[in-house]
Structures are given as structure tokens and as C-alpha cells.
């Protein structure tokens, strides 16, 4: 039962769309959150890999990755720090495309990034048209501070799951907590169930 704070009314930019999850507010900016400096990996040394049990199953150079079929995606995004941004438009390669032809019994993935960041997701949350590796935002190349050259985009989960500077997916049998998930943030992170922290 929530406690009513005397005198608080709020500005009531209410959510008539029903698209703002509980505890979130809408922003029109694009705030940046990162735990460390922004990596600047040259495209010549960039690659994206799919691996399992230490074995590389697929690998693309930047040019090979950009030659894959891509799509334009328009989705709402929700950051655990409380902002939501509606109708963001991205360009990216579906994770379904990257996993096409790969046989696996894995139930989870760990996305890993330049700079050492990791995040964990169930495989079913990155397949079936629910996740992309995005390289464009709003018609422009994705800026480094927003995760460029490429970031994971998993818009139905809190945005820390959309790993910036992503370089690969490790297929996992077990759900292994990533960077923020080891530091108190929720293992799954569904904004509609307000799964911000452990125990939510």
C-alpha cells in the first residue's frame, strides 16, 4: 500500500496512450547511461560473433554484418532510471537473422560488449522478432555514446538489456547474471512488471 505524501499532485502529463509502464515518465530527450568511458572500436577491427561453449559458431566483419538484411524498427524504450521514450526508430539486423541455421539447445544468451559489459537474456526474448543488433538511430549511424557502431536492441525489456557496443552473443545453458544483474538489478527486467531490482 503506497503512502500518500501531503501536498503532492504531480504535473500529470498523464499517459493516455497506455504506453508508459509503472514508475516511468516520458522524455523527449535521449539520455545516456554508461558505467564507464565510451569505447571507440574502429570498424576495421569490429566483428560480431555467435559462440557456444567457447566455440565460435558464426562471425561477421562490419562489412559482412552490414550486408545482412536489415529492417527499420519503431519501438518504445524504457530505462530503469525511470525515463521512457516513445516511437524511437532504429535500423538493425534481427537476431533471428544472426541465429539462422544455428542449432542450439541453449535456453539463454549473454550479450557481451567492448568495455567488458555483459547482460543476460532468455533466448526466447531475443528471437521471434523481439531483438535486433542496431546500427542506425533516427536515420543516422548510431552515435558512440548511444552504443555505436552497433548495440543490441531488446525494447520489451528495460534498456540496460539493450547492450551498447555489442560484439557478440554467447549461447548459454544457464541464465548467468551479467554486469548490472550481478549488482542488484533484476535478472529479467520486464518494465510492465516493474522488475527493476532483485526481488521485484
Amino acid at each position: 500500500m503506497a503512502f500518500i505524501t501531503r501536498g503532492f499532485r504531480g504535473t500529470r502529463e498523464t499517459d493516455e496512450s497506455g504506453r508508459i509502464p509503472p514508475g516511468q515518465y516520458e522524455t523527449h530527450d535521449f539520455p545516456v547511461l554508461s558505467a564507464g568511458p565510451t569505447p571507440h572500436t574502429p570498424l576495421e577491427s569490429w566483428s560480431f560473433t555467435i559462440s557456444e561453449d567457447g566455440e565460435e559458431l558464426a562471425r561477421w566483419s562490419w562489412d559482412e554484418f552490414r550486408a545482412l538484411p536489415s529492417e527499420t524498427i519503431t519501438k518504445d524504450i524504457h530505462c530503469v532510471t525511470k525515463w521512457s521514450k516513445l516511437d524511437t526508430t532504429w535500423e538493425g539486423v534481427s537476431v533471428d537473422t544472426l541465429l539462422d541455421g544455428i542449432e542450439t539447445g541453449a535456453g539463454y544468451v549473454t550479450a557481451w560488449s567492448d568495455g567488458g559489459y555483459t547482460t543476460n537474456l532468455p533466448l526466447e526474448d531475443v528471437t521471434g522478432g523481439k531483438a535486433w543488433v542496431a546500427f542506425g538511430y533516427d536515420g543516422e549511424p548510431l552515435e558512440p555514446e548511444h552504443g555505436g557502431p552497433a548495440r543490441l536492441l531488446v525494447p520489451h525489456l528495460y534498456f540496460w538489456k539493450s547492450a551498447k557496443w555489442v560484439r557478440g552473443l554467447r549461447l548459454m545453458d544457464e541464465d548467468e547474471p551479467g554486469f548490472w544483474e550481478s549488482l542488484g538489478y533484476h535478472l529479467y527486467g520486464d518494465p510492465w512488471r516493474e522488475q527493476r531490482y532483485w526481488g521485484d
Binding site: 558505467a35 554486469f179 521485484d200
Partner: protein
């Protein structure tokens, strides 16, 4: 990497406002009593939840400005003109009023004391708040490691905790506080008068040794410049911890 920040469920607690402290024209500290508070580490933050009579709610995150000290907690809040929560907290809330918060949150942007080596801090505006918790912790516990704060503010009147920082530095030869004032400087100002850049970072922090680490907190552009600058000076990227806010953050 720092250890786990949160053990078990983070439940909402009631905080009672004890007093408001006006730090600068735009920044106010809220001194709170939080029964049941289990303590926190310097650098962590809390989530605040306000509920209106009809059930409407708003949540925001605020950094903790003080080291762990029983059930007392100080949040320092910058009032954002078009904000929904910060004007209420800083202007309408009165001593004795209560609201909900939960925490502590964040297990990475925390100082683990002398184990982390010298404390190199770079603050932009209200980004100083979690860094102040580290300096206050260092002073309160008499932790002997050297500390340096490079603090960017718009004007002298906008320098949060100015008197306290002056006092801490005056009584501690191992603490250096360097200000830069980016918009206006008082007559006779001899400090920096520009936005931070790599040259300023080099002047203040010198060449890092292999284990040197830094905490950087401020607005997004500020943090980008400061973190890139530190990496350019030779800081290991994994030892530069950042926390960014804005351009929104209402």
C-alpha cells in the same frame, strides 16, 4: 568489480524530512530520518516515490550525499524548472512531511575505501553529490589515501558544498579541491575559467600510474569529455567509473 549492492528485496521505506539545507540557489539538501535504513556505500543512490491522494505516482532517483550514519540520510536535489518531483521536494516539502524511498541502489559507482587507491574525482554541477559522499566518508573515517576533486560549476554561487569543501581541504594536506567556473568568475579569480578538457585533467591529475582509477559524475557531455580525457591520459578504461544524468532527469 564491486560486490553485490543489494541483498534480497528492496522494500519501500518511509522517510521523514528533518530539515532542508539550501546549498545554492538551485540546489537543496534534504536531511531525512529513515527508520530501518540498513546503511549504504558512498556513491549509491535511492529511488524516491511520491503518491498523490488519487493514487497518481511519480518516481525519481537521487544520489546520497552522506556516508552511512545510522538511520540518517541526506539527499541533495537540483531543482529542475520543468521538473515534476524536484520542485516539490525542494520547495513544497516541509519538515515532518514523509515520502517513500528505497535503496541503496547501484553497486558499481561506489568507493571501496583505501582498497581502491587514491581517490580521483571529477564532478560537473550536481554530479558532485555522490562524490561528496565519498569525500565525507574519507574524512569521517580518517582514511589516509590522497584525494583530488576537480569540480566544474557555472559560477561561484553555484558551487555546491563550497564552504565544506574549503574546510575539508584546509584541514587535510592529502586533499586537493580544484574548481573551474565556466560561465562567470568573481573579480580576482585565479582558478580555471573554462570547461574541463584534457589539458586541465593532465594539470590536475598528472600521469596516472597503472592502478589509478577515477569517478566521474555530471551531465552527459561533461562525462563524455572527462572520461575520454582520462583515458587519453592513460587511465585504464575499466578503472574510470562514470555516472551520467540529463539532459532530462526530471
Amino acid at each position: 568489480m564491486a560486490g553485490a549492492a543489494v541483498l534480497g528485496r528492496l522494500s519501500w521505506r518511509l522517510a521523514e524530512l528533518v530539515e532542508l539545507v539550501r546549498e545554492t540557489p538551485r540546489v537543496t539538501s534534504l536531511v531525512l530520518d529513515v527508520p530501518g535504513w540498513d546503511g549504504h556505500r558512498p556513491g549509491q543512490h535511492v529511488d524516491v516515490r511520491l503518491t498523490a491522494e488519487d493514487g497518481y505516482q511519480a518516481q525519481r532517483s537521487y544520489s546520497i550525499a552522506t556516508p552511512a550514519e545510522g538511520e540518517h540520510l541526506v539527499l541533495t536535489v537540483e531543482k529542475l524548472e520543468d521538473g515534476e518531483v524536484s520542485p516539490f521536494l525542494t520547495e513544497e516539502l516541509q519538515p515532518g512531511d514523509r515520502f517513500e524511498l528505497r535503496g541503496p541502489i547501484g553497486g558499481y559507482f561506489v568507493w571501496n575505501g583505501s582498497a581502491d587507491g587514491p581517490l580521483h574525482l571529477v564532478a560537473g554541477g550536481s554530479g558532485v553529490v555522490p562524490l561528496m559522499a565519498m569525500l565525507r566518508h574519507r574524512a569521517a573515517d580518517g582514511i589516509a589515501v590522497p584525494a583530488t576533486l576537480l569540480f566544474s560549476s557555472r559560477t561561484l554561487d553555484d558551487v555546491i558544498y563550497r564552504d565544506e569543501l574549503d574546510g575539508l581541504a584546509a584541514g587535510d594536506s592529502a586533499l586537493t579541491v580544484v574548481h573551474t567556473l565556466t560561465r562567470a568568475q568573481p573579480q580576482g579569480w585565479t582558478g580555471y575559467d573554462r570547461r574541463i578538457d584534457e589539458g586541465m585533467l593532465a594539470d590536475v591529475f598528472g600521469t596516472p600510474d597503472a592502478v589509478a582509477g577515477a569517478f566521474v559524475c555530471g551531465p552527459t557531455r561533461f562525462v563524455e569529455v572527462a572520461a575520454d580525457g582520462l583515458v587519453g591520459l592513460g587511465y585504464e578504461p575499466s578503472r574510470v567509473r562514470t555516472e551520467r544524468f540529463g539532459p532530462t532527469g526530471r
